[in-house]
Symmetry: C2
Subunit: 354 residues, 2 copies
């Protein structure tokens, strides 16, 4: 029973650390996804603000400076329209804005629960180890009160083991939803929670060649508008600066803004592409299904083994008790040869039988 | 000694599986990076071919159809120049083309070595388990030949343990290069192996806001050229189609090509962004430094413990030998009480002392 029990405890520690590994993979994937989503929002807000600022200040200054030549004012107005169009298209890209589900919150909740689960298991394992140890000590020292206490403790741990077994089985069944063909399930779940269109969710959860980027249209339009602004600014620089030197400063500043916007735009394209988020999804699923589920199954095995070992111990302790020498305060006497040889021999036989 | 040995074997199995985990993380990160790099090359080749095809066929057809109106021919020529410029810019983006280092090859080599390392350790652990088991059997049965064989085997395993300890220590020291402040080291190593410019390597290995995308310029130029082609095609459609209906078919086909090119371009922007490859780099390093190094340290501990246990066993086996009853073919006789009581008592004392 002792050997089986210590093997069970080893399995329990392994399962506990595997589960913890899997859950930490899940929450780091969620944190990474959250970082991607919030960077998208942040970039969109920053770029739209920058464009709005440019429209309000530099383009207005330019229009005032070039007021004498209507065709240049028209070009400036064109650039303004394009900039406003870009800002509007970009705003549509921040698809996670206003979504009630925050991956950060989910990750924090998961980590919080996991922390306590891990601690509870470590305590249970230590308790079992102590019970196992003190039972052995009680048997070796033939101390009745220790055996009685340990029998009671074994009963408590047995109940805890059965309880944890039920919890583990329930969690394993719950996790299996995420493990066999999870895409449809997760997609529906996310759609319910976030209210996002299925186009976007399909793109991120499936992420294969067959599914077109739902932001493709917006990205292409923004890109064309940005290129148009660029060519209009270049035209203005060629035509206007020789005649109106004061137009140079706002034009240069506008080109600077345009460059920054183009850099942000490339970052947005990269962040919006399904690869990054889909990989996080894969990592989260793998954490749940490979490590966490495997760890849970080991914990289940541990609970089974320890329940078995504890039941055996509980059944055999009364037998050991019957074999103890009758004196109750036996361990207080300090004889050199305190054993009743007859009892001792039977006790050793019992010990070797378990 | 037995308890310590079996703990050592448990540690060895754990260390072996941890190391294997870390190495498989490394090779999966390398495979992912390889996939990214080869997708970039593939996309560039595909897009450049598609553009070249469009220039050769549709644009040539258009020029022939519109030959009567020189300003339309000029617009077509402009579109052709822009398409050629895009193709040229895109070709510069396939930065891994012609690089002699293939992450796929590295991943395959690493997996190959790891497979054999894993197998060798499992065999060593099983051998140690068997030696441990049969030594106990030999002692319990007081079989001299088994004890002699196991003494010889212990010696072999002891030598193997020392050898593996040396290898593990050397590997752990080698790995530490990748673990404390690895960026500079890995950057220099990769630069030597690939001959890529340090701009590109810095961008991918450090990947922070301070480092600008080395492809930014090319991406912006391609993007502007693509937008220019689009506006030229739209102009042609407006001006030419009413007069030359046969121009419609090549124009539609060109717009189709342009759409595909823009989709590919967005994918390229996403793939070229440092996030994906930098994440692979992070995963590879974490696999090496967290899991593989930790596993190696456990294996080192296992080697130490098993060397200690084996040395103890080797020292105490001759003592046990001296305590065996003199008859050599002892285990063949099938008496009910074959023990020389005196020897047996001393032997039990020796057994409990180890």
């Amino acid at each position: 029973a002792r050997r089986r029990d210590s093997a069970g405890i080893g399995i329990g520690f392994y399962g506990n650390s595997e589960t913890s590994d899997g859950v930490s993979q899940l929450s780091s994937a969620l944190l990474h996804a959250n970082h991607t989503l919030s960077t998208i929002d942040h970039l969109v807000v920053e770029t739209v603000e920058k464009l709005g600022e440019a429209v309000r200040t530099e383009l207005t200054t330019l229009e005032e400076v070039l007021a004498q030549r209507t065709e240049l004012v028209a070009a400036t107005r064109g650039a303004r329209r394009q900039a406003e169009a870009v800002a509007q298209q970009l705003q549509g890209l921040a698809f996670w804005q206003g979504v009630p589900l925050s991956p950060l919150q989910v990750a924090e909740d998961v980590s919080f629960v996991e922390e306590y689960r891990w601690l509870a298991y470590v305590l249970l394992l230590l308790l079992e180890l102590l019970v196992c140890l003190f039972t052995l000590v009680g048997l070796a020292k033939q101390s009745k009160w220790l055996v009685v206490v340990m029998t009671a403790m074994s009963l408590v741990v047995l109940v805890l083991s059965w309880g944890s077994m039920g919890l583990e089985a329930a969690t394993a069944v719950g996790l299996s939803d995420f493990c066999s063909n999870p895409d449809t399930y997760v997609l529906n779940l996310t759609q319910e929670e976030t209210g996002l269109s299925s186009d976007i969710l399909n793109y991120y959860f499936l992420c294969n060649q067959a599914i077109t980027n739902p932001f493709q249209q917006r990205l292409t339009l923004s890109q064309r508008a940005l290129a148009n602004i660029h060519s209009q600014l270049q035209g203005l620089e060629r035509e206007a600066v020789p005649q109106f030197p004061s137009a140079q400063k706002p034009l240069l500043s506008l080109e600077e803004t345009l460059n920054v916007t183009e850099g942000n735009f490339h970052q947005l394209v990269a962040l919006l592409h399904c690869r990054g988020l889909h990989k996080d999804y894969g990592v989260a699923l793998r954490g749940l299904c490979e490590d966490a589920l495997e760890g849970l199954l080991f914990l289940l095995l541990f609970s089974l083994l320890s329940a078995g070992a504890l039941a055996t111990t509980l059944c055999s302790l009364p037998r050991a008790w019957a074999l103890f020498p009758p004196s109750d305060d036996y361990e207080d006497t300090d004889d050199d040869d305190p054993f009743n040889p007859q009892e001792s021999k039977r006790f050793v036989q019992w010990q070797s039988s378990i």
